[in-house]
Structures are given as C-alpha cells and as structure tokens.
C-alpha cells in the first residue's frame, strides 16, 4: 500500500519502495522475514486459544539491500560515515554517546517523513513541524531506551510520534505497556530470537503492505492515518462490526504470512 501524499488516496500498485530481498552469504546483517508466529493465535475475542510454545519455523539469514528509505534520504551535508550508517546505528549512537552529528543525520533522514506522516494525520504544515521537533526532542532524551532487538529505529520513532501526537492533539494520555513492570508476565525465553526477527522484518513488511487488497489496505490506512478505531469505521461505513474485524484479521494474517514465507 502506498499513500499519496497530496490526496491521501491509497494507491494499489506497488511503489518504488519495494526492494527484493538479497541473501548474502556472510549473514552479517540478519533480516529474517518473520512477521510473527504468535499472532496467528491472537484471533477473535470469542475464540479461546493457547499461546503457542513453538518457536518460528523459518529462521533465515538474509541481508537486505539498503532500504530505499535510507538511500534516498542521505544527507549531503553530513559526514559520509553518518550518511552511510543505518538509522538503527544513528539512534544507538545518540543513545550511547549523545552524538549530535548522529542526531542531526537521523533528523535529516527521519524528520521529512515524520512531517508527511503527521500531515496525513491532519496536522497543518506549521503544527506538523512543531510536532516533529517535539518528537525529535523526545528521541534525543530517550534514545538510550531504544533496543534494536525489539524494534527498528523507524518503528521506535513511530511509537514516540504516536504518543506525542495523542498528548498534543487529542490531549489524552497513552496507557503504555511497561516492559519493566514486575507484574508483567514475561515472554517465554524461546521467543528472544523471534523478537529480533520482528524488529528486522521492515522491508518485507513494506512490500506486504503494498500488496494488500484495497478494502484491507483501507482499514490499515484509516487506523494509522485517520485516527479511526475499527468501531468508528464500522459505524461510518455502515458495515457490521464482524465484517470490519474479519477484514482486519485477514489483513494481518496476510502480512504475517508473507513475512513467514522463506525468501
């Protein structure tokens, strides 16, 4: 799924961000294409299930080409080293060393997309730029909490932006899962690898989003860009709740399936 920046329409054809995976023999950069094996178990509310105890079947060592994202967003004013670094590396450098050059490079590459994202969510240009600055300020302050085994830098920044936007625009607090909570039921130890896979499956996930059927892509777009929970979508579109839920389920099954296929 590709979002037209001006019209907001979902474009069904796949865009330039689809990059075919390339398997490298060295396997230094692990990008196994796994969306997640557990979520197949997370089905409808009335369907009891047990959480699976089996680890993912496919663990492949795949090296991704530099994402189109990274390639097109190189900052010519940054030192070459920063321009060539992955976003994860830049964010880690900010977290570990308060590295301002890395932060500036991160900003150059992420901020224009953050601005576009916030504008798609209904901010005007000035509001979006102000929010981008606030989001990046939080990124600067909290970068040491970034764990590349749990999420990519972009996903982590997405969550920061999501929470900041709720606070600034909806004036709502975000009830957050606290991974450090002693009451939290911990992940089974055998999931540790899987977490890393989820964190690193970004390229395949983008391709899978491009390929979603329009009615499923539409639901994803409404939830992530238009701030509409599925109950609101059902009411506005005059669709039964069950229909909306099953479309969401189909969309997510599709994303997981594509990501579970061996490349």
């Amino acid at each position: 799924m590709r979002i037209e920046p001006k019209t907001g329409n979902t474009v069904a054809e796949s865009g330039c961000f689809r990059a075919a995976p390339v398997i490298q023999p060295d396997g230094t950069c692990v990008k196994p294409g796994m969306m997640g094996f557990v979520s197949a178990a997370v089905t409808g509310a009335a369907t009891p299930h047990c959480c699976p105890a089996t680890p993912p079947r496919h663990v492949r060592l795949v090296r991704w080409p530099v994402f189109a994202f990274n390639a097109v967003m190189q900052d010519s004013s940054s030192p070459a080293a920063e321009a060539a670094s992955s976003l994860d590396d830049l964010l880690l450098a900010v977290g570990r060393r308060r590295d301002r050059a890395a932060f500036a490079a991160l900003f150059e590459r992420v901020a224009p997309r953050l601005k576009a994202f916030l504008r798609r969510q209904g901010c005007d240009a000035g509001q979006a730029e102000e929010l981008v600055q606030e989001v990046m300020l939080v990124v600067w302050r909290r970068a040491e909490l970034f764990d590349p085994a749990r999420a990519t830098a972009t996903t982590w920044i997405f969550t920061v932006a999501r929470n900041r936007r709720l606070d600034a625009l909806r004036r709502e607090s975000r009830p957050e899962i606290d991974p450090g909570d002693p009451m939290l039921v911990p992940d089974p130890v055998e999931w540790a690898d899987h977490r890393l896979e989820t964190a690193q499956s970004a390229g395949r996930l983008r391709a899978a989003l491009d390929d979603l059927p329009p009615e499923q892509a539409d639901l994803v777009r409404l939830a992530y860009f238009e701030d509409k929970p599925h109950t609101t979508i059902a009411a506005e579109r005059g669709l039964p709740l069950g229909t909306v839920k099953s479309r969401v389920r189909l969309a997510l099954e599709r994303l997981r399936k594509v990501l579970r296929e061996p490349s």
Binding site: R120, L205, Y224, P229
Partner: protein
Amino acid sequence: MSLPTHHPGDALLMDYASGSLGEGPALVVASHAALCPGCRCAVAEMEAVGGALLESIEPDPLSPGCLDRLLARLDEDGPEPPPPVRRPPAPQRRAAADGPLLPEPLRSYIGGCPDALRWRPMLPGIRVAEIPLTVGSARLIRIAGGTGVPQHSHDGVELAMVLQGGFSDAFGHYLRGDVAVGDDTIDHRPLADPEGCLCLSVTMGTLRLTGPVGRFLNPFLRL
C-alpha cells in the same frame, strides 16, 4: 501461572498499536498485554506496521532552519538528559496477601490497592468504582460470588478484563487477564464465579439493557 485464553482480538490490538484507540479501551488492551506475551508480541508487530508506513510515505521537506532550531533546544536541555522513565510504584502498597496484583499501566491509574477507591453499590452484589482518565472514565466492577449481571446488549462495545476471580457467559469462562468483548451482536448475561470477580471495564459507545430490569438499570450503567 496460566496465560489468558480470551484476547482482545486483532482489530483492537491494531487500534491500540496505531494510536487510534481511545484512552479507556487502550487501558484495557495494555493491561491485558502485560499479562499476555502473545498479544504483546502482536502489538509489537503492529507497531512495526506503523514503522513500515512511516518508511513508505513520501517525505515532506521541513522549512529551512528547523534542524538548527532543534539543535539549539538540545543545548537548552543541558548536557545531561533527564532520567528516562518513571519507575512504577511498588506493586502492593497495602493490599492483602490474597489481593489482586494489578499490572501496569492500570496500577499507575489507580494505585496498588482497589480497596482504597470510592466504591458505590449499583445492584445487590455489584459494586462500582470509577477510574478517572484524562478523557472520560473507566471503572472497576466487583461482582459477588454467584451474582449474575442483568441481561444487556451494547450499542457500542464493552470491554471487560478480569483482574481477580472469574465469570462465565455464553462464550466461556473468563479468568485473570481474560478480556470479554461485548458488541452489538451479543446479548449476554455474565455470571460471577463462586469466589466473585473483580473486573476492569470500559464502554465505547452506549450500553443498552434489554430486560425489564435492564430498562431501569440503564441510567446507572451509563457512567
């Protein structure tokens, strides 16, 4: 310890991960996820969907000087960053040994001890305590052992998560961590287990009671 068997479902998890879910239902989903590694993992995946959408969007260049202004703000921030996050309060302030263990983020909203809240009777065997949110409210419901909640259906969606004890309805038996999702397709009457039940409950939309007692109750339930 057993894991939950009734989950919020993909649609609510996606709403939570995308940020489109309101604060009340998000409190239920996040508190369930604290007790359910499977849903936590699903949320992480759906956040990765958000990350992929952010990567796929056409960039919109910022006005000149934006980065410089931000770098100046970093200087105002001082060389040392503030401590990253608050630590959660002690899990149990004064709850009895058999008291419910409340997970985050619920604990931050009500403290460790539900007994300290202002409870008011709603029906024989049913007491309610309101939890103020930034916007709107959620509530804790205590149902005495063996008490049935009057038959009702929902114009919107009602989420109920068991914190202690359990209840049964037409869809099964709900224990700690389990989430019951009641929507307009369901007309149900939950029955508390013999040891009673403590639930976190939120309503998205209005609740409509269907039985003769229900019409009387309606104003009380619409909190």
